[in-house]
């Protein structure tokens, strides 16, 4: 990990431990979902694994009482840091009525929560990037000072909507942060066959606003970049593009088999620099964490997840007649 120090960034010891806890919580929820999927209890998982450092680092750099998120399907760490719980996400995984994202209507990973200003998302990639610009524009019209963070994968950043969003936000100098979580693959298609030039951050120049590339395995580096971007946004200096580079540690989804397109060696290499590994080491090096304390944190998280799983499994499904609700107001 780089020489970046949390104290220099204005983060307290408690805050970085809290960041670590959210990263772990996300990871452990995700792992549990895979188990549930393989046990035939839930039909689908799409993972945050490998990107928790980006997600939690970014969330902590925002004002979590005021700012808005238009996230994408891997942003479990981000929505947890904004307020969702293990239970919320288990309810969603089990497609139960109480699922706050969609009442069991959408697949897991399709976040949306009015309580925390997380706009409901869909499956077609990149549409949310324009919604973020709209929320930013609304803020301008209503003279609010919220910032909007929107994310997508590096594959998704090639969609036309992404270009239109960056251009629109650039023209109107809106308080949006465009973050691309570059995990090197879009399902089976690697970065080189996906992103011309390979440098997503470089695209910002074409819209007249700054673009930065950060190590997504280092939550502090992400924090720093998003913090700066949020300050620029809030003070009327317009959008920023952040490319956060990491790796997708597991298959694309529970329906994927990643052995058909990448080697296990490559994945193993990436595991060594996994943000959880790296950040844990940072905290231990700085004597904020011990193995013992780590185990305590994990134990508490596991209890939370166990309870959430149990609750969600027992919770009721929507009723058949719920199908017909909420088509119109």
């Amino acid at each position: 990990m780089s020489e970046l120090k949390h104290t220099a960034l204005g983060l307290t010891d408690d805050q970085v431990l809290e960041m670590y806890r959210y990263m772990l919580l996300a990871r452990k929820i995700d792992e549990r979902m895979w188990l549930l999927n393989r046990a035939g209890k839930i039909p689908f998982v799409i993972s945050c694994q490998g990107q928790e450092g980006i997600q939690v680092g970014a969330a902590f750099a925002l004002d979590r009482e005021k700012d808005w998120l238009c996230p994408y399907y891997r942003d479990l760490g981000m929505v947890l840091a904004f307020g969702q719980t293990a239970r919320d996400n288990m309810l969603s995984a089990f497609a139960k009525k109480e699922d706050p994202n969609s009442g069991g209507r959408q697949m897991p990973g399709h976040y949306g929560d009015h309580r925390y200003r997380i706009l409901s998302g869909s499956s077609p990639v990149t549409t949310q990037v324009l919604h973020a610009v709209g929320i930013a524009y609304a803020g301008k019209l209503e003279k609010k000072d919220h910032v909007v963070l929107t994310t997508c994968g590096e594959g998704s950043s090639n969609q036309g909507d992404w270009h239109e969003a960056c251009n629109f936000a650039g023209v109107h100098n809106l308080p949006v942060i465009f973050m691309v979580e570059n995990n090197k693959y879009a399902i089976s298609v690697p970065l080189t066959k996906q992103v011309a030039g390979g440098d997503i951050a470089a695209r910002a120049k074409g819209y007249g606003f700054p673009g930065v590339k950060v190590d997504g395995n280092n939550p502090l580096e992400v924090y720093q970049a998003v913090k700066e971007a949020a300050e620029r946004a809030r003070s009327g200096q317009g959008p920023t593009l952040i490319e956060a580079v990491s790796y997708r540690l597991v298959p694309h989804s529970s329906d994927d088999d990643d052995r058909t397109y990448r080697s296990s060696e490559e994945v193993e290499e990436a595991r060594k620099v996994d943000s959880l590994v790296v950040f844990k080491k940072y905290l231990m090096d700085h004597e904020l964490l011990t193995e013992e304390k780590d185990q305590e944190i994990v134990a508490k998280i596991m209890q939370e997840i166990n309870e959430a799983t149990e609750y969600a499994e027992k919770a009721s499904y929507p009723a058949p007649e719920d199908l017909y609700k909420h088509v119109y107001a």
């Binding site: 969609s102 399709h110 549409t127 324009l130 709209g134 209503e142 909507d161």
Partner: protein, 327 residues
């Protein structure tokens, strides 16, 4: 009560709603300084400023996508597509996003968005400035689709659309813009979305239509009076949600139904109307249900000869009514 053109009724409705509610704003290509290429937003930029009458970049997906974000936040955007033909780049945002935001969030989010789009032919606009595009959207639950024929309805329905809490596609026939005039109250009123209107009572043949062809149908009906053919004319005004009751009633009046629109026949909305009748008013029918529509060609050509061949006219409509009356 002043006599007003169809397009002036659009402008007036926008102005009144923007005065009434500061959450209403307009966005689109050339809607600001220029007041719209058809001048539908003329004067609004001067009155409400550039932030509420927003000239956007030339990007329809962004216009709709940004409007969806703003609507979800709580504003009431009115987006203009410069021509209905150019709504296509925004289809993903309309169908995947606007129509499904409420449903997918189990009612936790909503999308009070209006998309205005001038459509229709007979204006030498050629293939891409003449299309009727309603059929792309009429089968998408979650959207409402309004297609007024006359200035009074334009004002009342546009105001209703802006106050509606769901996404509304508001299609304005370009040929009606300056050709159709009538008295329009300067007072505030709305016309309910989802209600058709009987435009003429008759006993021989029922015509169901909307938009420009509604006027042609009324002309045809008038010209058939002297032949002793008494035509009942229903203006759908809203396609979705569809006023089935009015359709069934209008069917029962005559037992012979002719459905007319400018959009092409196969896959057009007349099919939906005919099916509703065939399913729910079958025993009222005295003759096959007829559809008179634009031909099944990709779009209306530029050459005046071809445009004329494509367009429906009062004469073509009268012929079809006569045939059905004689059936």
């Amino acid at each position: 009560m002043p006599v007003m053109s169809y397009i002036d009724a659009v402008t007036l409705a926008l102005k009144e709603e923007m005065e009434r509610d500061s959450k209403v704003f307009v966005l689109g290509e050339d809607v600001g300084v220029r007041g719209g290429v058809f001048r539908a937003t003329v004067g609004l930029y001067e009155q409400f400023g550039e932030d509420r009458v927003l000239d956007t970049p030339l990007t329809e997906s962004a216009i709709v996508g940004v409007a969806i974000g703003a609507a979800a936040y709580g504003l009431r955007p009115v987006a203009e597509m410069q021509f209905a033909d150019f709504i296509m780049p925004a289809v993903n945002q309309i169908i995947s996003e606007a129509s499904k935001l409420r449903y997918r969030s189990n009612g936790n989010w909503e999308c009070p968005l209006v998309i205005r789009a001038p459509y229709g032919g007979g204006v030498h606009g050629a293939l891409y400035h003449s299309q009727s595009v309603e059929k792309i959207f009429t089968g998408v639950p979650g959207l409402k689709i309004v297609m007024p024929a006359s200035p009074y309805d334009v004002k009342g329905l546009l105001k209703a659309a802006i106050r509606d809490n769901d996404p509304v596609l508001f299609f304005e026939h370009k040929r009606c813009y300056r050709a159709i005039k009538e008295e329009v109250p300067l007072e505030d009123y709305t016309v309910p979305i989802g209600k058709a209107a009987v435009k003429r009572e008759g006993t021989d043949v029922t015509v169901i239509s909307y938009g420009l062809t509604l006027h042609y149908s009324l002309e045809a009906a008038k010209s058939l009076e002297q032949e002793g053919i008494d035509v009942h004319v229903l203006d759908l005004r809203t396609l979705v949600p569809l006023d089935k009751e009015a359709i069934l009633e209008a069917t029962a009046k005559t037992g012979k139904v002719l459905i007319i629109h400018e959009d092409n026949k196969t896959g057009g909305f007349a099919g939906e109307v005919a099916s509703v009748i065939a399913e729910e008013a079958f025993f009222e029918l005295d003759a096959p249900i007829r559809r008179l529509c634009g031909p099944d060609v990709p779009a209306m050509p530029y050459s005046p000869i071809l445009e004329k061949e494509f367009m429906l006219t009062p004469e073509k409509i009268a012929t079809a009514i006569r045939e059905l009356a004689e059936f």
